[in-house]
C-alpha cells in the first residue's frame, strides 16, 4: 500500500512526503523556495470547489497551489491515522 500519489489527488486533511517533482527549472525553483522539495512533508489543508486551487502546508508555510501545478508533485502518502504534519 505504498504507492505514490500526485499532490492534487491527496484528500484534504491528509499528508505525504514528497518523493519527486516533475516541474521545469523555473517552477521547480519557485517551489523549492516556498518549501516544496523532495523529502519534505506536506499536508493538504483544504481544496476549493470548482477545480479551484488547493491550500497546502509545507513546514511552517501555507501555500496556495493550483491543481495543475500540484499534479507535478509526487508524494508518498502518510498513513491515514498519522498525527500532525
Amino acid at each position: 500500500m505504498t504507492q505514490t500519489l500526485a499532490l492534487c489527488d491527496l484528500a484534504a486533511g491528509r499528508c505525504g512526503t514528497i518523493v519527486r517533482i516533475d516541474a521545469g527549472l523555473e517552477l521547480g525553483a519557485r517551489m523549492r523556495a516556498l518549501g516544496l522539495l523532495p523529502g519534505r512533508r506536506v499536508k493538504v489543508i483544504r481544496r476549493s470547489p470548482f477545480r479551484g486551487p488547493i491550500q497546502v502546508r509545507a513546514g511552517q508555510t501555507d501555500l496556495i497551489i493550483r491543481r495543475g501545478e500540484a499534479a507535478a508533485i509526487m508524494l508518498l502518502p502518510c498513513p491515514a491515522e498519522a498525527g500532525c504534519a
Binding site: 523555473e26 525553483a29 523556495a33 476549493s48 511552517q60 493550483r66
Partner: protein, 596 residues
Amino acid sequence: MSKRIALVGMPNTGKSTLFNRLTGAGARVGNWPGLTVELLSAKLLLGDSMVELVDLPGLHNLHGFSEDERVARHFIETQPLNGILVVLNTTQLERQLALVLQLKALGLPMLLALNMADEAQHRGIRVHREVLEAQLGIPVRMISAKHGRGVPELKQSLTKWLRAHPEPSQARAAVLSEDDAIESTLDDMLSQSLHIPVCLSPTRTDRIDQVLLHPWLGIPLFLLLMLGVFQIVYGIGAPLQEGLAWLLDEARTRWLSPLLAGLPTWAMSFLLEGLYDGIGTVMSFLPIIVVFFLAMAVVEDSGYLARAAFLMDALMSRMGLDGRAFVMQLMGFGCNVPALMGTRVIRSRSQRIAAMMMIPFSLCSARLQVFLFFTTAIFSPRAAPWVLFSLYVMSFVLAFFTAWLMRSRTRHNTDPMLMELPPYRLPTLAALTRQSFRESGHFLRQAGGFIILGVTLVWFLTHFPLDAAPASSATLAGQLASWMEPIFTPLGIDQLLSIALLFGFVAKEIVIGSLAVIYGAGGDELSGVLAHNLDWIQAYSFMLFTLIYTPCLSALATIRRESGSRRVMWISLGWSLAVAWLLSFAFYQTARALFG
C-alpha cells in the same frame, strides 16, 4: 563617499516595515506577498555617516523570473553596495535560510535580521542566534519590525558593521551554487540552531479560515465583507462630508463674500465661483477619502487579499487569469496606478497585459467621489447605496468581460499560480494612520496642484468672453460643447456635463470641481442644481460613462510604461471609450423608451 545598504529578503517578510521603522519613510506595507514592486530609497543616519537604505521587492531566489524579482536582482548585481541587510521571517526560517546561502555567493557583506520574532515566540519557535551566527559567519539579529523590538540594537549592529565595510563593493557575478548542496548544508545547520515544536496546535488563522475559506460560504462571505466595508465608509464618511461642505458654505457666505465685496464682478466670480467653489467641493471629500483609505489599509494588512485570490482563482481561471489579477482589481479600488504596477508579480506577459486591460475598469476612489456626489444628489437616501453598488457590479462585469475576450491569448500561456498564504495579522494603529494619511496626502497635493489649474481653466472657458452669460453657448466652453454635442446627446449627457467629462479625462478628481464652476454653485447648492437639471436616467448614464471611459492620464501613462508598448495603451483607451459610449447609449435609450 556615499554609503548604500539594500534590504533583501523573500516577499512579505517585513522589509518595507523595517524600512519605514529605520528611516521614517512611508513605504507601502501590506500582508500580501509582492506588495513592493519598485525600488524605494531613503536616508538614514548610522553613527556619524549618512547611509542610503534601499527597499527592494521581495525575491524568492536568485533565479528570479518575475518582473519585480528582476528589479531587485538587477539592483543587487549592478549597484555598488556597502552590504545587504537580509530580512527573513523567523517562523519560516527552515525554507527562507536558503536565500541567505545563495546570497553569500555574491560576495557582499551581509547582516541577517530575523523578523517577526513576536510571531515566532508565539508559536514556540526558538532560534539559537549565536549558533546560527557562527554557522553562517555573519551577524544575526532578532527583531520585530512591526513593534519596533530589537530595532535599536539592529541599528547599533549596522553602525558597527558599516565601520567594518566602509567601501562599497560590486557583487560578484552570481556563481550559483548547486541548490541541492545548499539544501543539505541547510538541514545540518538548522538541526542545531532551530527548534520547532513538533505538534503545533491550530492557530487563530486556522480557525478564522475555517469560516472565511469555507467551500461554499467563502464567496458569499467575501461579498458581505466588501458590502460591510463600504457601509462603514459610507456611514462614517458621508455625514463628515456633509458637515465639511456645510462649514465651507458658511465660511463663504459669512466671511468670504463680504470680504471680497469691493472687487470687480469678474474677479469675484473667479475667486468665489471658480477657485473657492471648485476646490472647496473637491476638498469636502477629504474625510471620505481618509476613512476609505483607512478601510483599505485594514483589508490590505489583514491578509484577506490572499484569501480573496484563493476564493476567486477558480472563476478567474475560466477567463485565462488567476486570483492575483482579481486582487489587483481590488487594489484598484484605491487607485488604479499601483494596481497596474502590482501586476509585475505575474510572469506571463500575455496574462500581465490582460490584467492591465481589466484594471482600468476598477472603480477607484476618485471615481467614487463623483458617484457619491451624484447618487446623493439625485437618488433617495434609500436608493443611493444600491445605485453605487450597481456601479461596483458594473465595474467587475466589465473587467471580467475584458479578460474573457482575451482568454484565447492568455489560456495557452499560463503562469503557474503558487503563492504564500500568510497568516492573518492585525495592523497597528500607528501603521494604519500613517498609510491612510499618506494616501490622503496624495489627494491633497493633487487638490493643491492640478485641480487648481483645472478649475482655473474651466472658469476661463465658461466665462470668456466676459460679456457672455457664464457657461452659455457664447462662451468658449459653449462652443467646445457644441462640437461634442453629436457624441453626447444620444447618451443624454448635456453640454455642461460634457465639459466636465473633458476635464475628467485628466483625472476624475476634477469632475466635481469643474461642475461646481460650470454651474456656479458649490457643495449643497450644486447638488440642488444637479437634481433640478437632471433626471435619474441622465444621471446614471453620466455615471456609467464616467466609470468606463478612462481612469485618468496617469493610469494611461502607467499602462504605457509597464507594458512597454504604446499600442497596449491605445488599445486600452480605445476599448474603454468604445465600451463607455456603447453602454451609456444602450442604457439611456432603453431606459428612456421604458420609463419615458
